[in-house]
Symmetry: C2
């Protein structure tokens, strides 16, 4: 499948054990050299073709249109306003990538695409892809410059505070918050299943954006009440999202800044894709604030694309850290061992790392 | 592996048979829906991260530096002139992507990277990746605009003749020709093995760029003589490349334009990644010219990322056609059946399609 490289950490190559390492000090025989092809290198180097084909399909609303019913190539082309020259190649490329089905000349969604890429469904997670299409793809074109300078390479790179800037424009804010739902959905569903929620009654999702985690936890565990702590401007967007699930009674928005204010108390505090936005000192500040807001026996759950301790398997986590270079002034991703160390320094008694979904794991700290 | 989606055509999903099709008219059960995750969609959508990480590594000369010997992170960072902030994440991401090895804190090339991505080796195929990094990645950012307009989305889009423009600047020309070697090497090696060359004595590679195919054929078959037909400006670059393999005696450059002049005679005429650059009428003109230049019993070999006849497996070929939208005025890729049909119309007696390597196949026409 296309994305094994990122998803299946265990399946990733472990070069130290690889027979093809130039570090193994064993030169290849002529036959072995003859068998080498550049094919997989070429394919990865052009892998952005598949990404951008999907991103353009989301931008154009292909999956939203097909959710209304299958269409033949010409009808779909007209519906999307595409030129005849390449429309069919575009649709068939989406079929070959496993993103669309085609039967008797009619195109339709896969069940996966129908559930997650139809803008009309609450399960839509395309926000992240919309942001990747509108911002990240172009920003990543400047990766080399970022690696040389250590400076962000996005439209916010001149701003004093990237997030204040990002949150300043309502349209961009909503896209970003919806994007966070996209990147959190898989982990949020796993989080609802894999943590012993029966032993706790309240939770607080810190910097929870649209409210993806709060909603998934409330849907899975009727005994839980809680909510989210985020900047005031996020409030209305959270309320709207929560209401769409009819969970307004149990989920409450708490307005504030996690650097300027203390965190509200809760049995369990969740920080998802928050710590990686900030530099080391800021990360430690947030972990200390969580510790202060928890009761004895309470838990802090940090979930991210946590990098494997040996830093050689979770390619997605390592590249998410490069994305933090592109997008933030000092952010970086980290290993489970890094995060457990920071938690112990903050006074947490027990810590452990558990895989969630895809490249995401959670680091749990018990006070 | 990262790129199976493009490489293993047989392994690609065949949606018509897929149980997860919305076209199968069977709604999913609640349990089936609950098991769906957006993970693979998210990973593909962000797949450009892995591409650009490799492209920046080629741009920075990571593999060329490490070909001189393994280096620790700090030495490699200094050698490449990278900022400390993200250098280690960058190197370890390359390890996790299987592009570098790491042992005892020292980074080294894989044998594959050492052979194909070290600029100092004649087997270097990074030219395509340099072009992808310098041009295609940014041009593909405008894919949606191209799909709507049907117009090229590159820096040549205003030019009357893209290739005249592309060939006008020596640096860009050399990068492009070297890129063609990158994309042709795997297929060229397979072509040398899989065609019955023993039955023929002369060949002509039409539009052969740097000379990749001519060199691979001459290396594998000492009885063959031949060469390449391309625009005059390509001559010196071909000669230099051929001389680097000491094949100047058997490989000759023939200067000309395949639209303005007839093709020189040869037992076998090869056109690799040529036909897809042009519109239907131009494609047929080139096939007719090849037929005219061949003796009875001679062969035309067209090799490209030939699309499977059902247009649902070769994602790479279908997206190569989108790349022709981005890069050319009327070019498009095609199926084996399309090409065999054009060959029969031109008078070829027998035609067949044979897989070469990765997404590439050859269409053979016998006169």
């Amino acid at each position: 499948m296309p994305t094994e490289q990122f998803v299946d950490q265990a399946g990733a190559t472990t070069p130290a054990e690889s027979p093809s390492s130039t570090l193994s000090h064993r030169p290849l025989s002529t036959d072995e050299r003859a068998e080498l092809t550049p094919d997989s290198i070429m394919q990865l180097g052009l892998g952005f073709w598949g990404s951008k084909t999907l991103l353009s399909a989301v931008e154009l609303g292909v999956f939203t249109e097909l959710a209304k019913g299958p269409l033949d190539a010409e009808s779909l082309r007209m519906r999307l306003g595409l030129h005849p020259r390449s429309a069919r190649d575009f649709f068939d490329a989406l079929v070959a990538l496993g993103l669309l089905e085609r039967e008797d000349g009619c195109y339709g969604n896969t069940h996966q695409g129908d559930l997650f890429l139809d803008r009309a469904k609450p399960s839509y997670v395309g926000g992240l892809l919309e942001m990747a299409n509108a911002r990240l793809f172009r920003n990543w074109a400047n990766l080399t410059r970022g690696l040389k300078s250590g400076e962000p390479q996005n439209e916010l790179s001149q701003a004093e505070d990237s997030f204040a800037e990002l949150y300043a424009k309502p349209a961009r804010l909503k896209q970003f918050l919806s994007a966070m739902t996209g990147i959190s959905m898989g982990a949020a569903r796993a989080l609802a299943q894999l943590f012993p929620w029966e032993s706790f009654t309240t939770f607080l999702d810190v910097g929870g954006a649209q409210g993806c985690v709060s909603v998934q936890l409330a849907l899975a565990h009727p005994h839980l009440t809680g909510g989210e702590f985020d900047l005031p401007v996020v409030g209305p967007i959270f309320e709207e999202y929560v209401q769409s699930f009819g969970l307004g009674e149990r989920l409450r928005f708490r307005a504030g800044s996690f650097f300027e204010h203390p965190l509200p108390n809760a049995d369990v505090i969740v920080m998802g894709h928050i710590l990686h936005d900030w530099d080391l000192e800021q990360k430690q500040t947030l972990i200390n604030k969580a510790h202060a807001a928890l009761p004895s026996g309470g838990a802090l759950i940090v979930y991210e694309a946590v990098i494997d301790d040996d830093r050689r398997r979770n390619a997605f986590g390592l590249m998410m850290s490069l994305n933090m270079l592109i997008e933030t002034k000092g952010g970086f991703d980290f290993t489970g061992a890094d995060c457990r160390g920071w938690m112990h320094e903050a006074g947490f008694k027990e810590t452990r790392v558990e895989p969630l979904c895809g490249a995401d794991s959670m680091v749990i700290g018990l006070k």
